[in-house]
């Protein structure tokens, strides 16, 4: 394969970043916008070309005997730590990276387009496009990483892009603190990731994914029996690496940054905090999947974290007022869904339960990643239109908007149906596969996640009804809301169409854990159950929220503590606030700073003071009386003479 296209895919966004970032000061906003959109458009076309070449060309480097291969388009040395541990920058093509190329460039392109309308009047428009390009570059670099260290490099870069974009409205203190929080929380997670890489690379002497994943047994063997605190080194490494994923993908307990990240511009939320960056954790686990399979304990850890997070986020989403926060928690919940799905996929199936091909969960998870990116981006962009129209994030400022904003209304509805898992929308198919994989692993996982799916349908439709039905807000008379300009509507329509048809893509033909094609077939029992649950939840939401009534208020009054707790996200932020501000800042940092000034520095000053005091004490001898000097001198000479005489003679 020609290396020009892959290089261009990475080079165009970074070039755009530099051009817009440095030249943006003197560039009119139109030019900046067009440049950004064109750049991303080109990049998208190239990425599609590469992905399609990979999937459909049938070239021997991509597919052998129907099994899709991993292929390193290029891999150049960047930094050589030792002879063996060499960091390379490369471009790895395999099913998931090709799929991610499509997802990222598509969503990114639509977000670029959408932002032209959404951000039109904001100051710093050029800067905004520069940051978007930086993000696209980093994310693309992350997914095509040939080795875990390259992934770490771009992992950090997406973190910074996310920081910059969340804090885009940097004059708002809330945006500043949200961006800081996002960065620090993910940084903390990355610390785990880094230590994980350190451990793994120390024992395996390589960063390369192909070497790590093609022969995970060997990796295990190289780690030998090394253990630490009762768990093997490999377990530690995999769990720590997953910790990085927990940070980026907002798993409990490192989820707290994502809801706050909604302070950023809405298209950014759609791109980074719904479709692409937050699934990096899922992508990481998928990338290292064979290694995780070798360590069941770490896989179980992934599953447990995912299951708890999914449920927690779904519950919290039911009680949020800010529509972006609802979507944020929904994102957390859905990503956790993917995590669980990955965790239940094993490359072996217990005897007697042979039902589906092994690794079904892997395929399902990737499938859901794909569909979720599309419909969640759609939902966020729709939310952006709403915010654009009513200038508020809260649903209390909305209601009855279906008449005023038809395009937004219909596309949003499609998004809701997709996420709720109603056929024939895309979410149904991917979620069905995931649930099938979970039921296959154990009934408990399936039931638990079905419940989460039901909650998802409920809170999404709660949101939908509160925005578009309920009752009309009286303010509309003064300020009539309307759909956005074409730049905003067009992405909505296209993404809605994608959400309608994406479910029919034979995804198993393209992406599976081992490259062999897998034929998706619906599992009737699972499908019917989940549709039924979703429908019940929707009906409940309809009953509660379609027309203005006092049932929700009564429910809230019946369970005030629970509602308050869920509304305040079960006080996680307060706990973190306490730990970071009170304990780390207030106690540790302050006391260290105090110690430094008053103990260490005081000791050093003390030496100086003692010297000074001593000098002052003997200064009186220098009293200016020459006779005193002579007396001292004379007695000294006499004493010296006496000593010399006594000792020597």
């Amino acid at each position: 394969m020609d290396i020009t296209l892959p290089i261009l895919i990475l080079a165009i966004p970074i070039a755009m970043f530099l051009i817009l970032g440095i030249g943006g000061v003197v560039m009119p906003r139109k030019v900046a916008g067009v440049l950004g959109i064109l750049g991303m458009g080109t990049c998208a076309v190239l990425a599609y070309t590469v992905a399609f070449t990979y999937f459909f060309s049938g070239a021997p480097e991509f597919i052998i005997d129907g099994v899709r291969q991993q292929f390193q388009v290029f891999d150049v040395t960047w930094l050589a730590f030792t002879d063996k541990l060499v960091v390379k920058l490369g471009f790895l093509l395999d099913p998931i990276s090709a799929m991610m190329l499509i997802v990222i460039t598509t969503i990114s392109f639509f977000v670029h387009l959408y932002s032209w309308g959404y951000m039109e009047h904001e100051p710093g428009f050029q800067r905004y496009y520069a940051f978007l390009s930086l993000f696209s570059f980093s994310m693309l670099g992350l997914v095509v990483a040939t080795n875990i260290f390259q992934m770490y490099i771009f992992w950090e870069l997406v973190g910074v892009s996310s920081y910059l974009l969340i804090g885009f409205f940097y004059k708002l203190p809330s945006a500043v603190s949200a961006s800081k929080k996002a960065f620090i929380v993910t940084r903390f997670a990355d610390l785990g990731f880094l230590i994980g890489i350190l451990l793994l690379s120390y024992y395996t002497d390589t960063f390369n994914f192909q070497i790590l994943t093609s022969n995970p047994e060997l990796v295990m063997a190289e780690c030998g029996g090394a253990t630490f605190m009762g768990a093997s080194v490999m377990t530690w490494a995999m769990v720590l690496i997953f910790m990085g994923g927990m940070g980026k993908s907002a798993m409990m307990p490192l989820h707290i940054w994502l809801p706050d990240a909604m302070e950023g511009p809405t298209p950014v939320s759609a791109l980074i905090h719904a479709a692409t960056m937050v699934v990096a954790g899922v992508y990481l686990v998928a990338r290292m999947f064979p290694c995780y399979c070798q360590v069941p304990a770490s896989m179980d850890f992934v599953g447990v974290v995912g299951a708890i997070t999914a449920f927690y986020a779904a519950v919290v989403a039911c009680c949020q007022v800010d529509i972006k926060r609802v979507l944020a928690f929904s994102t957390i919940s859905q990503i956790a869904f993917m995590m669980v799905s990955l965790a239940v996929a094993r490359d072996y199936i217990p005897v007697g339960e042979h039902w589906h091909a092994p690794g079904l969960g892997y395929m399902a998870s990737m499938f859901h990643l794909f569909t979720h990116a599309m419909f969640k981006a759609l939902l966020f962009l729709g939310a952006g239109c709403l915010i654009h129209a009513v200038h508020s994030n809260d649903y209390t400022a909305m209601g009855g908007l279906r008449k005023y904003m038809p395009i937004t209304h219909w596309t949003f509805l499609i998004g809701c149906l997709a996420i709720a898992g109603i056929p024939p929308f895309s979410g149904f198919f991917s979620k069905d596969e995931m649930l099938a994989a979970m039921y296959q692993n154990s009934f408990f996982w399936g039931a638990w996640m079905s419940m989460v799916a039901g909650l998802t349908a409920f809170y999404m439709f709660r949101l939908y009804y509160l925005i578009f039905w309920w009752e009309e807000n009286p303010h509309y008379k003064e300020h009539k809301p309307h759909d956005g300009p074409w730049q905003m509507s067009l992405p909505l329509i296209i993404l809605a169409l994608v959400s309608c048809v994406a479910g029919f893509i034979p995804f198993g033909e393209f992406v599976t854990y081992n490259g062999e094609p897998y034929h998706i077939h619906l599992e009737a029992a699972v499908a019917l159950t989940s549709v039924a649950i979703a429908l019940i939840a929707i009906a409940l939401a309809t009953w509660l929220y379609m027309k203005k009534n006092d049932k929700p208020a009564k429910m809230r009054a019946a369970l005030p503590t629970l509602w308050e707790a869920a509304h305040r996200r079960f006080y996680w932020d307060e706990i973190y606030q306490f730990i970071t501000h009170k304990i780390i800042f207030g106690i540790i940092c302050q006391s260290i700073a105090w110690f430094d000034r008053h103990v260490i520095d005081a000791t050093m000053d003390g030496f100086a003071k003692i010297t000074q005091k001593g000098s002052l004490a003997i200064r009186g001898m220098q009293n200016g009386h020459i006779q005193a000097y002579v007396a001292w001198y004379f007695f000294g000479a006499v004493a010296l003479a006496a000593v010399v005489w006594l000792c020597i003679i």
């Binding site: 006779q627 007396a631 004379f634 007695f635 006499v638 003479a641 006496a642 005489w645 003679i649």
Partner: protein, 176 residues
């Protein structure tokens, strides 16, 4: 065996020297102190003569007892009124001075008697060993020669020093 005359001369001069030195540092009148110093210097000069260093004795008389004493007297007259007495001494200073003197004297005298000096030699013997009296010629050669045991360089240095001293004295004492 030294001649009796020499011994008598020695005693007279030594006692005069010691007494006048003692008086020089104890008298309260400054002009008297200078006078006693003069006596002491003259006695020293006599010792030089007695030891056979006539030139040195002459220099001592001319420079010290002549030149320097004139300076002293001038200075005293310029800075003191007649009958000026020095203020009584503070007790602790007196104590310091006496103790320093006593300790120093004891140490030095002890040292003198303990030192392995050629104590047996008498003055006449050493003058005999030393040969004839130093002539002006010898001293002159030694002063301006540049061989071993000759002192041209210090001689020049002293002359420069004296020049500097003249200039310095003028500069310091000049009225602003």
């Amino acid at each position: 065996m030294d001649s009796v005359g020499n011994v008598i001369l020695y005693f007279v001069v030594a006692i005069a020297m010691v007494v006048s030195a003692f008086m020089a540092v104890t008298t309260t009148k400054i002009l008297r102190a200078a006078t006693y110093l003069l006596f002491s210097l003259i006695c020293t000069a006599i010792f030089y003569f007695q030891m056979g260093y006539q030139f040195l004795g002459a220099v001592q008389l001319a420079v010290y007892a002549g030149g320097i004493m004139v300076l002293f007297v001038f200075a005293i007259i310029l800075t003191h009124k007649p009958n000026d007495k020095t203020a009584p001494l503070a007790a602790h200073r007196q104590f310091v001075g006496i103790s320093a003197s006593v300790i120093g004297a004891v140490l030095l005298i002890l040292a003198l008697f303990k030192m392995p000096l050629a104590k047996g030699l008498s003055l006449s013997q050493v003058i005999e060993i030393g040969g004839p009296t130093l002539t002006m010629h010898d001293i002159g050669i030694a002063l301006v020669g540049s061989e071993k045991f000759q002192y041209l360089l210090p001689f020049e240095a002293v002359s420069v020093l004296l020049l500097a001293c003249i200039i310095g004295g003028v500069v310091i004492a000049r009225k602003k």
